[in-house]
Symmetry: C2
Subunit: 83 residues, 2 copies
């Protein structure tokens, strides 16, 4: 079966996010005063060939742990659906 995983990788809440801060002020400068606390991370989409959703989840966890996520600075969440 084929699964699609959508992974969000965000800077930890405890850490500053200078890029997000810059975007927050830029948005205020162009008149969008209602926006606050912008934080910027990465979104990764991938496809996984696997026998079950559980196995696909394990593969995504392994990919995040070994390559995609720096756990000192980032946290991740993901969702998986069959396609």
């Amino acid at each position: 079966m084929k699964f699609k995983a959508e992974i969000d990788i965000m800077p930890l809440d405890a850490l500053l996010d200078p890029q997000g801060k810059a975007v927050t002020s830029s948005l205020k400068n162009i008149g969008l005063e209602a926006v606050s606390n912008v934080r910027i991370g990465r979104h990764i989409r991938m496809f996984i060939e696997s026998d079950s959703k559980e196995e696909a989840s394990k593969i995504v966890d392994e990919a995040c742990d070994k390559l995609l996520v720096n756990k000192i600075m980032e946290s991740y969440t993901f969702s998986i659906e069959e396609v």
Copy 2:
């Protein structure tokens, strides 16, 4: 009311994604052969002070159109919830 918006900005399907290609081969190299077609974009979280969900949506659309998204190369989707 305060709303939280989660925005995904991805490279258009018609465009190559060299970063995603590199990650696909790296994952294969560390033994995750089941993964294919990795694409990498941005995930942006922001908070919006607004009277209604519809108004908050408009603000997010305006932020994406004016600042966050390069529509020649990227597309975006978002979800909003009250917090």
